[in-house]
């Protein structure tokens, strides 16, 4: 490899390359190396270090830095197996990922179809507006959602539900259709879970909409017209023309957003710190809390390593069987 690198810097390459035959194929590595090194030192190295911490009985940052912690093998992991909080956290996290993903997919496909429809005027402006949530900082939007989900009688959603109740009672609808306001969105377990999912869907749909829209725009118009000529109805055209076109991109966006949802930290943390009474602690919140609040660095590291392993496994399966890396080996 060393002999096949004629230039050590990019500067002289232009001249050298025209003079030399193609013996210099490996110099591309030089362009990739800085990024790999930076990424490894700030991202991969800490993972290995985290794994090391998970094998110790470290209790706080000082004991890790000062070397006061001792290796205790897999004890932290053994402790996790029997930990009921760990089980709750895992189940809640998976449920959160699954529920929000399903809603996200339906919502995003609906929005993308509508905002790409021939009958909608000004759809370019609407699309620009609809993807704006992606551009706002998470701490901002999530805090705003916390305000809207306020437990207070005059919180936004409670006010809306109150109006809805008034409207329904004016129609003398049965009690069953009314809501018991005010709802404590952040103080009940499933109410809080519902609030998390709503916010997560709102945060993630723009990415999906963008990807689906660009897939829809790649479908030639003639395909739709041909199907129409053949007498296919709207539903049939959706099934035979639209679905095959967006299947790949939807799967792709689902994988990426599901992996992000699995690592969701800000929503539970800002809303009610994974409450009430630790019932909604998503996995990262659980690990973070063990370290920051309870000074259990070793255990926290073990929890987070398990979380990272799950995401890693998920991404590995997705990359392998979901065709995520199709472009990797095509040349």
């Amino acid at each position: 490899m060393a002999s096949s690198q004629p230039g050590t810097g990019v500067s002289g390459l232009g001249r050298l390359r025209s003079a030399l035959p193609f013996s210099s194929r490996d110099w591309g590595l030089l362009l990739v190396a800085p990024g790999v090194i930076l990424f490894s030192s700030f991202m991969l190295y800490p993972i290995f270090y985290l794994f090391y911490i998970s094998l110790t009985d470290a209790t706080f940052a000082g004991s890790v830095i000062g070397g006061g912690a001792e290796l205790i093998g897999l004890e932290n992991y053994v402790q996790l197996i029997g930990d009921s909080q760990f089980k709750t956290s895992m189940i809640t996290t998976w449920l959160f990922v699954a529920v929000s993903l399903v809603i996200k997919v339906f919502l995003a496909v609906g929005i993308a179809l509508l905002l790409n429809h021939a009958r909608v005027a000004g759809k370019r402006y609407m699309r620009a507006a609809v993807i704006v949530p992606l551009g706002f900082p998470g701490i901002f939007t999530i805090t705003v959602w916390r305000g809207m989900f306020s437990d207070a009688r005059y919180g936004v959603f409670n006010t809306i539900l109150g109006r809805y109740n008034e409207f329904m009672s004016s129609l003398s609808a049965p009690e069953l259709l009314l809501f018991d306001v005010p709802i404590g969105f952040l103080s009940g377990r499933w109410e809080a879970f519902f609030a998390y999912v709503t916010t997560e869907v709102w945060l993630a749909y723009p990415f999906m909409v963008i990807i689906i829209v660009s897939a829809l725009q790649d479908v030639p118009r003639s395909l739709h017209e041909a199907a129409m000529v053949d007498g296919a109805g709207a539903l049939q055209r959706f099934r035979t023309v639209t679905v095959p076109a967006i299947k790949g991109p939807v799967l792709f966006a689902s994988i990426l957003t599901a992996a992000t949802s699995f690592q969701q930290f800000l929503i539970p943390w800002v809303f009610n710190q994974g409450g009430p009474s630790r019932q909604n602690e998503l996995i990262i919140v659980y690990g973070y809390r063990e370290a920051i609040t309870f000074n259990q660095f070793g255990l926290s590291a073990a929890i987070l390593i398990v979380g990272i392993a799950f995401v890693g496994l998920f991404m590995f399966v997705a990359v392998r069987y979901g065709g995520l890396a199709e472009g990797v080996g095509d040349e």
Partner: protein
């Protein structure tokens, strides 16, 4: 490449973009009225039935309603930023009474908070002759303030490091992945794809380890290192994104340029970079956001005098567990997020093009 010339070209192309956006925006009502007249004409001449037109109008209204529902949180918080006092809710309805709208909260952000200057104590720049001590015989000094620059400058510093490091590493790497064969190419790319979505969550997951490592190497409270860290977290996804974008540029363009006598660097400058512009715009936005928005790592590693805007915002949000000063929070957040959101809004076409992951479909 002459750096001054390319900077001027960049400014010129940005100005052209803004101008075309403004023209599009200004002509929108005109185009809209033309569209309506066209529809009326079509119905009169029997080209379209009135039911056909009604369907289009209904669909458009439905689309508009959906946009309004989806963006409701943003309208709501903006109206809250204009409200009287610090209370978020009132008994009269969801939105505060418009007659009480005022800019008091924005005044607070600019002249009292740490947004621009600590405690809002604005100073003025002063030219000092001979006191430079560096390469130049003069220097600038900020005078007239006893406290110093605020969170905005910390944020801008972090973001410039993130952008410089991120772009310096992402663009060449994406090119190499797209156009070159080299040892370990497949494996590294595979690793990047694997790590694309682990970025932000991963940095929180490894926070425990990061804090220990940064303390051990004495890197805490260092804005430069933090900027590098954000760049590192943005590398896999953006390199992959740009690589798939470059894959869609036919190799024959470069070959044609080479046949015409262009050098390797010429093909980069004249073929690759111009054709990759939408992709570069998206990467620019994403890398910027990586440095601009993150606050948990920043809060853990930095001391208060170095807090960027994101951490300040979080501190305002959590000042009291049950008493977020909403109007101030909303005003602060709007000033913090609006510039980015506007750029993002303006670059929507590029975002759609750049994020299409061309190779993914089919």
């Amino acid at each position: 490449m002459n750096p001054l010339g390319s900077a001027a070209a960049l400014v010129a192309s940005a100005a052209a973009l803004v101008r075309s956006k403004l023209v599009a925006l200004a002509t929108a009502p005109k185009r809209f009225s033309v569209m309506i007249r066209r529809a009326v004409y079509d119905v009169r001449t029997g080209k379209r039935t009135s039911w056909d037109v009604t369907k289009s109008v209904l669909m458009t209204l439905f689309g508009l309603a959906m946009v309004l529902v989806l963006l409701f949180p943003l309208f709501w918080i903006t109206s809250a930023s204009l409200a009287e006092g610090s209370r978020l809710f009132n008994t009269s309805g969801i939105f505060p009474d418009p007659s009480t709208y005022n800019l008091g909260a924005y005044r607070w952000v600019i002249f009292e908070s740490d947004f621009f200057f600590v405690d809002g104590d604005w100073g003025y720049p002063q030219l000092v002759i001979g006191g430079g001590g560096g390469l130049l015989p003069f220097s600038f000094r900020w005078a007239g303030t006893e406290t110093g620059p605020g969170a905005l400058f910390n944020s801008l510093y972090i973001v410039s490091v993130t952008l410089a490091a991120g772009f310096g590493m992402i663009v060449p790497a994406a090119y190499a992945f797209s156009r070159r064969q080299f040892v370990g190419r497949k494996r590294i790319l595979y690793g990047y794809v694997l790590f694309t979505q682990i970025g932000a969550g991963l940095s929180i997951a490894t926070l425990v380890a990061l804090y220990s490592l940064f303390s051990t190497y004495g890197l805490t409270n260092n804005l430069f290192v933090l900027g590098l860290f954000y760049a590192a977290s943005a590398i896999p996804f953006n390199t992959w994104l740009l690589k798939t974008y470059m894959d869609n540029i036919p190799v024959s363009y470069e070959e044609a340029a080479m046949v015409d006598g262009a050098s390797f660097l010429d093909t980069i400058r004249e073929v690759i970079l111009p054709l990759t512009k939408p992709g570069l715009a998206v990467v620019l936005i994403f890398v910027w956001l990586a440095g601009w928005n993150e606050f948990i790592i920043a809060q853990t590693l930095l001391r208060p005098e170095n807090y960027p805007l994101s951490v300040e915002l979080y501190n305002i949000a959590t000042e009291g567990r049950f008493s977020t000063p909403w109007t101030r929070f909303a005003a602060f957040a709007n000033l913090f997020a609006l510039p980015v959101a506007i750029v993002y809004f303006a670059a929507q076409r590029s975002v759609e093009d750049g994020l299409s992951f061309g190779g993914m479909e089919g």
